[in-house]
Symmetry: C2
């Protein structure tokens, strides 16, 4: 039983859809599937923007979201309060961007006011993009994207580029309503399908920036994906069977409805956090910035790895460990995608038993 923040549990319907024999990716039948996927992806993203599907992990989707709209030397602000924020700062530097990091301690949310100050001080409009991780998977912290984005909008020039890998499909990310320019996500999270597909939603403003962006690209060049999307096609051979799975998963999501999906994730988060408090374990992120995809726990009387090991061996439940300097110090419970209250209750009960067994 997967209780990690990705890969997340996959419904049987999706697994069986993936076990179908592939069809030709240039056939009329597959074109129809792409057309349906594109429509449902726009629904899920709450946008009329093009949502592009790539054969990449979430990191590949974020790279596409960054390199298509910027040039070497461009100044960018990167929010960094965890492993993924840190990765986007490293990635931006690898492409020669002039990176200014806005940091917070791991476990704390980014302070939107710091973004405000930097953006207001930039009267020459040198900041070309603000790169923010919405839900920081490594710490279970949800950053205040809405407020940060308001300051980006007030700046007027900078694009907002969002890592929504563990927020899309779990928490409200109203792309058109907020005016989010670039939003990247990955299949093995809220989408309820195995890893292998990345998604990038691109606004008109971002496409305008694309025209003058000069970072070299080919496989991740989004213009051919956009062109192909308009013809319900793909520039390169797409991961056909994963797209069969995506079709089944998006149908399930439409049936459940966005409001219900968001409410379910909120409820799962509350159930999990209440259960952890009841067990007397310290939560790593505060209630008011808790991610709706993953809850990080920092046990003070037990070894985090011993807890994970017992949960795995005795109950066949996979929890995630800490990353980088949090390795061995925290464990993380995923409650994202195809997860129910019963799953959480099972996980919490097994955790209670584990704590007893470990003394």
């Amino acid at each position: 039983m997967l209780m990690i923040p990705g890969p997340t549990p996959v419904p049987e319907k999706v697994l069986l859809a993936m076990a179908k024999h592939p069809i030709g990716h240039r056939s009329g039948d597959f074109s129809k599937i792409i057309g349906e996927l594109n429509e449902n992806l726009k629904w899920l993203h709450q946008t009329t923007n093009e949502v592009l599907t790539l054969c990449v992990s979430g990191t590949g989707a974020m790279e596409a979201g960054i390199i298509n709209f910027l040039s070497a030397g461009d100044r960018v602000l990167v929010g960094n309060n965890g492993k993924f924020g840190d990765r986007w700062a490293k990635m931006s530097r690898a492409f020669g961007l002039q990176v200014e990091e806005i940091t917070a301690e791991w476990g704390q949310p980014l302070n939107p006011e710091t973004f405000k100050e930097k953006l207001e001080a930039d009267t020459n409009k040198q900041i070309k993009a603000v790169i923010v991780t919405h839900s920081e998977t490594s710490t279970g912290v949800l950053n205040d994207l809405k407020t940060i984005n308001e300051y980006v909008k007030a700046h007027g020039e900078a694009l907002i580029i969002v890592d929504a890998v563990t927020s899309l499909g779990a928490v409200n990310v109203p792309i058109d309503e907020w005016g989010l320019d670039v939003v990247a996500s990955g299949s093995q999270k809220g989408y309820m399908i195995p890893p292998g597909l990345g998604f990038v939603s691109v606004s008109d403003k971002a496409w305008k920036a694309y025209e003058t962006a000069t970072l070299p690209k080919f496989y991740l060049d989004l213009a051919p994906y956009k062109k192909a999307n308009g013809k319900n096609s793909s520039p390169f051979t797409p991961p056909i069977n994963l797209m069969f799975g995506l079709k089944a998963a998006l149908e399930m999501m439409r049936e459940e409805g966005l409001e219900n999906i968001f409410a379910r994730h909120k409820h799962l988060t509350e159930v999990t956090r209440a259960g952890i408090k009841e067990l007397g374990l310290p939560l790593f992120a505060a209630d008011d910035c808790a991610a709706l995809a993953v809850t990080a726990v920092m046990p003070d009387k037990h070894d985090a790895e011993a807890i994970r090991s017992n949960m795995s061996k005795k109950y066949d439940i996979a929890l995630a460990g800490g990353q980088d300097h949090l390795k061995g110090k925290i464990f993380r419970i995923g409650h994202l995608g195809f997860a129910s209250e019963a799953d959480m209750l099972k996980g919490l009960a097994a955790l209670k038993a584990t704590l007893k067994q470990l003394g």
Copy 2:
């Protein structure tokens, strides 16, 4: 029934392996799978070089094979006698390489002597790489990689970077014996699994070039893949279910044996070409440069698209069409991966019936 040069038919065993529930990619169980895959990939590639597995299409694998070992301004020779050779020339230019194309008409093989002349004339050793498509999928031509590579070896400095997307697993590509530096391939071809995985084999000489190569990269930076491979891990979330399928497919390939696999593809090619000749249809590529993955046919009395349409509607057999300027002029029969003589006989019989029906 897929008779296109990718995606190729997928065995039921592989489809069912892919329908298994994903497990955590950082778990010990998955690490064991990666270890087994790495060993079997080396066997398939006939190499002790690291073979890296990426979540990309074949184009992504080729991009990784190019950008990791070169810097902007580097001079490269690119063989171009079809759509894919053309793509690698475009890709190389997109990354600022100084590209010299060695061309041949579509349907003709590249002339190794042209490579020899260019390489011998380069006494200053300015040519950093020679990029060659082994099996040109768009035309059904197998380029003489062995001879071209001998001239690259005589040059001494240049790397050989090979697109083996429709040759690996169909025709002999003895990486260590020939000393091929970088060899890229994709899952939906000889590997008998759906699209979504790319593979890159890298020689020590190429890793040495990596150290001074300056093209920007992150998702496709191969050093983290190499590092992770050494620990039976992956730098980013890998496409877990496709790797379940890869495990099953490589087991089947090991059972069949490399010699048998190559002999089967040779036989399928001979059966197909003999059948086409018997039907009085002109083969697009000559016998002595015929690819063992795909046979292109240029009907002189029939419309290629009418033949494909009838084959699809009446017999549910998918043939591939021509690409770019060959659109509507040729059709292509795939005989790659999980294909048998019976499949070819069925396809040829349906083609015979189709020709009668079209008059």
